[in-house]
């Protein structure tokens, strides 16, 4: 017999008070939590609903940063003109995220907090230097997204903490691409995001690459980034990044694809993500 409690929080402080020292779990959209309850992964705890907290639901623009509230849904990201213009990779990730009905409830905070290696928003946010802002009743801190994930399903979040918002930097040249078994409702085999800046001579002056579903957590591909720096993004360079990319990833065999296949296909995805960032502005 299941033994759950329930409380609705209407403010961030109320949610944090309810979380403090209690055996409690946060529910926002519910697209992960409800299946967890059904499968028995979550048992006997108090569910804290944060869906109606207005202070967690906003997209704001500063001079060079964009702030996204934790309870912003994937549909909101998809429709936002700010995201389309300044965070194209995140827009593209939102467009291939699950399906429209899931997008209407799933939140960006939830996608990060459940820490799936295949979380679609993670690589896109990583190439935009996302910083996760976390609060508990007595403290608040911020963690770069690259240090946020610990292992599959595990993050730096404590049980009494809540993600309040995510800050990302604006960058018009970014792109995201996903490889799945089908076009919709698929969990990714590989995802790749890139953000690339060229100098006047057409040489890569800064470059960020992030990958999903090819390591225990979503990762920044440091070797690939170093390899690409100061090179021209022509076909020769992009075809030669296979070695560097394979140093970055540690894929596994699973129900969706084999590790070997992921090793073959990840460099191709990186190549496409870079082309998307450079040549296909939204």
């Amino acid at each position: 017999m299941k033994e759950f409690g329930y409380k609705n929080a209407t403010t961030i402080t109320e949610a944090l008070t309810l979380l403090d020292g209690q055996n409690a779990r946060v529910v926002a959209g519910g697209t992960n939590v409800l299946p967890y309850i059904r499968s028995g992964k979550y048992t006997d705890c108090r569910l804290i609903n944060i869906r109606d907290i207005k202070d967690l639901n906003f997209i704001k623009e500063d001079s060079d940063r964009i702030t996204i509230g934790a309870c912003v849904t994937i549909s909101q990201l998809k429709k936002s003109k700010l995201i389309l213009e300044f965070v194209p990779a995140l827009h593209q990730a939102a467009c291939v995220f699950a399906d429209p009905t899931i997008c209407n409830t799933a939140t960006v905070g939830g996608n990060l907090a459940s820490a799936s290696p295949a979380a679609d928003t993670a690589p896109a946010l990583l190439v935009h230097d996302a910083i996760v802002f976390i609060k508990s009743l007595n403290s608040s801190r911020s963690v770069p997204l690259s240090e946020f994930f610990k292992a599959p399903g595990t993050t730096v979040l404590q049980r009494n903490e809540l993600i309040t918002h995510i800050e990302i930097s604006k960058q018009k040249n970014s792109g995201f691409i996903k490889l799945g078994m089908r076009k919709s409702m698929s969990i990714s085999i590989v995802t790749a995001a890139s953000s690339v800046t060229l100098n006047d001579a057409g040489i890569i002056s800064s470059c960020k690459i992030a990958l999903g579903a090819v390591a225990p957590t979503p990762i920044r591909a440091a070797h690939t980034e170093r390899f690409l720096l100061s090179k021209k993004p022509d076909d020769d360079t992009l075809s030669a990044l296979i070695k560097a990319t394979n140093l970055d990833i540690s894929p596994i065999d699973d129900i969706r694809a084999s590790a070997d296949y992921r090793r073959e296909v990840t460099p191709v995805m990186v190549k496409r993500a870079i082309k998307l960032a450079l040549y296909e502005h939204c």
């Binding site: 299941k2 759950f4 409690g5 329930y6 519910g30 409800l34 109606d52 549909s75 009905t101 409830t105």
Partner: protein
């Protein structure tokens, strides 16, 4: 036993109070209260037959916490069909186009189609397929379902609805 919660919400235009369990999903809460037009398929957010409108947006009711719907508005396929011209027209089009075989996916498909068309969805087969991409049908191969939604979208475009 999980905690029991009383929630007040509007279902198909009527204010109701329901007693739900703390961990219960909206799908179970609706079916327990005789909204049987909402079907239970996979119950993990994959199949889409439990799709309803929550505050005007199509969502899978099996992945929504019932208690969290306190103060919100739900529309199901049946309620929409009885009170809105658009959904009634979609339901008719499903019959006209032969889009219903076993019928189990139909309520979810109709709600997803309603969401698509009321937000200005165009008669564009690719966009229609995308709009119903969260709804599985194992009988029709989707062609006739897309035909039906296309037909209604065309009617709207020509000012017939």
């Amino acid at each position: 036993m999980s905690e029991k919660i009383n929630i007040k919400l509007k279902i198909n235009g009527v204010f109701v109070t329901l007693e739900v369990l703390a961990h219960q999903n909206l799908l179970r809460a609706l079916r327990d209260n005789y909204y049987w037009d909402v079907k239970c398929g996979c119950e993990v957010g994959e199949c889409g037959t439990c799709t309803v409108l929550l505050d005007g947006q199509a969502v899978k009711s099996c992945t929504v916490l019932a208690a969290a719907c306190d103060g919100h508005e739900i529309w199901t396929d049946k309620g929409l069909g009885l009170s809105t011209k658009l959904t009634a027209r979609i339901q008719d089009a499903f019959v006209e186009c032969g889009s219903v075989q076993c019928g189990f996916c139909t309520p979810g498909m109709v709600v997803a189609a309603t969401d698509y068309l009321k937000n200005g969805g165009k008669p564009d087969r690719t966009a229609i397929r995308e709009a119903i991409s969260g709804n599985l049908c194992r009988c029709t191969g989707y062609v006739k379902i897309v035909d039906a939604i296309y037909k209604v979208a065309k009617d709207i475009e020509e000012g017939l609805l």
